[in-house]
Symmetry: D2
Subunit: 343 residues, 4 copies
């Protein structure tokens, strides 16, 4: 049993504790911490009564009984806890974002490289979604030929009032940033953002939709529609156009109906329903890989790349031009972490 | 210009006059007749003002200016007018049914054979529907291998109050009777009818749905669901299971929508919308073939076969057993009429 | 940890040991037995080294360390081991068939009822398949109205040489027998079997395909095509026609491709790929329910019902007529076992 | 019968003569001309033996027996013949392009406006395609809300050796230029062209694929993939993303097959198969509208707009930047020509 300490007992933290302690195989949650200690105690009592509640996240990291760390605290605190885990030489799973700035992400990369051990995994869960894995198999099998273009859409039925500013780019789009790099096994070299006519369904102070264009090192051109007031539902689409064929991300499974004058499939309304199974796969694979002493999921470098790309997109949106994505070469250290889905 | 006389100026008669006189190529309506003379005069005035209005259908058939006849009068009168056309040696297109009893249909067959000329075509319009033709091409190309089973559904959103008794078999089902014989190039040898649980949407005195089972000479087994209080719409389905593959009747073309929580196609609500284009193709091909002196569409024999099959199905429904479909060999005379769709 | 003993270490036995011991949560395999002791020892060594290998299945059942039994031995031995488990008061999961005759199944039912405890679950795994559960939700929600007809197909690309006689009915069809009763929450009252034209792809001594017709207590009519030399692949279809709408069993998830002149989905070639996930769900739910002291899956009564129905279908095939399915009322004892899928 | 003269008896000219003389209703071809007189004579003899063969296109335009003109000659000659028809006050249908430069198109617009009569129609046949009309109905009904984005693909399996330079923009893309303006009832204000990684299937001297981005006056953003070495087939896609829903251009009707391990639709391999029916609709509507003294199809202004847009796209491709599409206001004269599809 892998003994895990969880820092941050908010919504996602509670879900992960439930998974790690009760649902998945091979792990137990032995320690929890939250800035709100009362909440941490309530969560522990309810989900993992024998776990120790720490007043301080750093103490949790340092505790001898804790073998691996899960960071689900407030974004601005990610950097310090991930760095602490690296310093303690303990594997750490950090929910996205890895850190709230590219510079902070780079600190983590540098610390991990300096430590000489692969310890950090970032919570980009789409890589664990069955439909993306099926699409990646098509690409890797060579069935589509070399990818030339990717057409995507990221549509949400609505967003909360706190969702504003450039969050379409900094909060919604990072899922595509990571999963498309992984799908294509490629990196980005430039970004452009186009602002279509605004939908009447968006709040007055919110830009919606966005069209984001990325160029990769190999010359693949990607267009992603990010549309967060799309009334019909939560809908993630991805079409890879290769030299030899085109492959589409599968739709979620649902009953085909003939009813009420329509031949229809139901569209999901909530991203959780769409990706809930991915969290289980993601954390089960993390547990299994930690036990084997490796990191096979998204690395700190992937978290850093996402931050740099999002920054370039924000700049591109405001400048209206094409913005280069400049990032040094990936440290050789990370070459060994490449994730391959099981056959 | 083929000079046509139309007997029967009700709804379908008016539609055919409009087609033959104004829409299609190579024909003109020069004579009309109806038991309701005032209606015939009004229709002529509106759609084909120079046409002569006959008080009597037999006079219309005999008139020297009339080269071909279209019979769209009340069913019980079909036999006499078709026989008159045969006697006059003039091509005749008769709306379904060819006649209202198998015996009457056989009279027509015998008269036509005795005349030595192919003159009669019956208005089974599904053979002219684009989707059925595409399915037939798959069968004839050998792409599916030999057909083994056919699974069909004939669904209507509702039926008028006059629709009662065994009309599911005698009025709705004959479309399948004819089009499946044509699709398979095969004949029926037995029928069985199974009565599923009745839908709450059917009138108290109406049986609905029916499951009708047919066996062909080659051993193909056909099941057809006839469901005429199917609330979602008008829907015709046909799936041919062959030794090597399965082919489905194409759905009508419509825009795929993502809207209101659904990924959907609209389902048609009216059989006319489904088959309206088939009438144009049917009558254009009839005009063209009459000019070439042949009949290429459904023959009198096909009309007779449909009547005998429907009778067997009615008997099977009431007896609950398997009823043989006994009909003599097709006269050699009809071998020359086999219709092949254009390549 | 539920301590399980497994009787039968052939292919399916090994797969279940792997699941119960290594993959699922909350169970461990502590005892194994097989008629081939050397094989049992090899399997134990490889998959669960600390398990005890019993020379005799009855000793395994009786062993104090064994809390629950899994029977995956040769069909003719199922009855004795399940009866032994009942006698020992231990929960038992028995792979299908429950026993190889209706009489033997009834012995089990009687023994279980007499014991007063729900102990037996039969391995009908389709109830655990995601696509069937989605379809059942549509029915139970009332979205389709009352079911009137069900159209099904059970297609296999090929069958081994040992597959002969009436195995289409006794081996392939029982999956539909059980899952359709469960889907409809209804029982069968009669069966009929129709033999379509035989496919050229079947062995000379094998009948293929079959069309099996079932009638339920509520009057629902079911038609199931069983076609085991269907060259295109393994394909399970189910269409429920209700008063208000029609629902289709979802297709397995796959990438939609545009390639080689086709817009296509890949069709699975192996039933294992189709239902492999269901085994995990089935056994995980069994473990969880055994720990709660209940049986929530297919009961001995369901196993008995399947046997009686298959017998009636075999008789119907050979007689060509409609055969009543006569079975006494379900013992009140089983009313408490009804399985409801999680919301 | 509308008496038509056809200038240009090459491939498309011959097809139109066959349509206008033999297939459609209400027209006859009375005069033909080609720079290759022998060919014109051969074509006339074969398709319309009573037509007069003119040595000179201008004489054909001027001939008193000719009531309307169809121009299907070599592109560089379009301008002079269309101007001649305007000068003669005769309706003229000109195959695309209207003329080979924006300046030449503008000459035609100016001449037509000066003449005070609507005489010119350009052969953009996609407006007559059933699938585009269904999509336009969805937009015009308000069902999708205001369009915000349009995602398109124009894929060809291959191109002939003469297809080079910027023909993806000047030859393939004009179909989208016209049909999208018509679909959206909007004009373009800027263009950008992005060059993805080149496919290995393209000739060394040919750029392929292109991604073309257009912005409309209302702010709609359009992306069109033009990919002319797309091995799987000829494929035209269009997805309109509106405020309230998304609508897709219907796929061509085809039989759904289960065969050879695939659930598949056949993809067309030739643009002619895709749009052949549109030519019939286009020319039948032109005949009908000419008889009513109006032009309801694409106008000279539409031809001019297409030329200006294509020029901007070529410039954008070569500059790499965003190029404004500057064109004066549409003359009020053209406001009366707006085409509405029949209800």
């Amino acid at each position: 049993m892998l003994k895990i300490g969880v820092i941050g007992t908010g919504a996602i933290g509670q879900e992960h504790i439930e998974r790690l302690h009760n649902k998945l195989v091979g792990s137990t949650v032995v320690a929890v911490n939250d800035i709100n200690k009362a909440q941490a105690e309530e969560v522990a009592r309810r989900l993992t009564p024998t776990a120790r509640v720490f007043e301080n996240g750093h103490d949790l990291v340092a505790d001898q009984n804790v073998e691996a760390i899960v960071v689900t605290s407030w974004g601005p605190t990610h950097e310090e806890f991930v760095l602490a885990a690296i310093a303690a030489g303990k594997p750490v799973f950090c929910e996205k974002p890895l850190a709230t700035s590219a510079a902070a992400c780079l600190n983590i990369v540098n610390a991990e490289v300096a430590s000489g051990r692969h310890l950090v995994q970032v919570g980009f869960m789409r890589r664990y979604d069955k439909s993306y894995r099926l699409l990646k198999q098509q690409i890797e099998s060579g069935n589509l030929g070399e990818p030339l273009m990717v057409h995507c859409a990221h549509r949400n039925p609505n967003v909360p009032d706190v969702y504003g500013g450039d969050m379409a780019i900094t909060d919604s789009f990072p899922h595509e940033i990571d999963v498309l790099r992984w799908l294509l096994d490629d990196d980005y070299v430039s970004a452009q953002v186009i602002m279509p006519r605004k939908t009447k369904h968006a709040r007055k102070d919110l830009d919606d939709p966005h069209m984001i264009l990325l160029e990769t090192r190999k010359g693949v051109r990607i267009d992603v529609e990010v549309f967060v007031n799309c009334p019909y539902g939560y809908d993630i689409q991805c079409q890879v156009v290769g030299e030899d064929g085109v492959g589409y991300l599968p739709e979620p499974m649902s009953v085909l109906l003939r009813k009420d004058t329509k031949l229809s499939h139901e569209i999901l309304q909530d991203w959780k329903l769409r990706f809930i199974d991915s969290y289980d796969v993601e954390l089960q694979e993390w547990i299994d890989s930690v036990k084997m002493g490796v990191v096979r999921g998204p690395t700190a470098w992937d978290g850093y790349f996402a931050a740099v790309t999002a920054d370039a997109c924000v700049e591109a949106k405001h400048s209206g031009g094409v913005v280069p994505i400049e990032i040094g070469e990936r440290p050789a250290f990370y070459a060994a972490c490449a994730f391959k889905p099981a056959a």
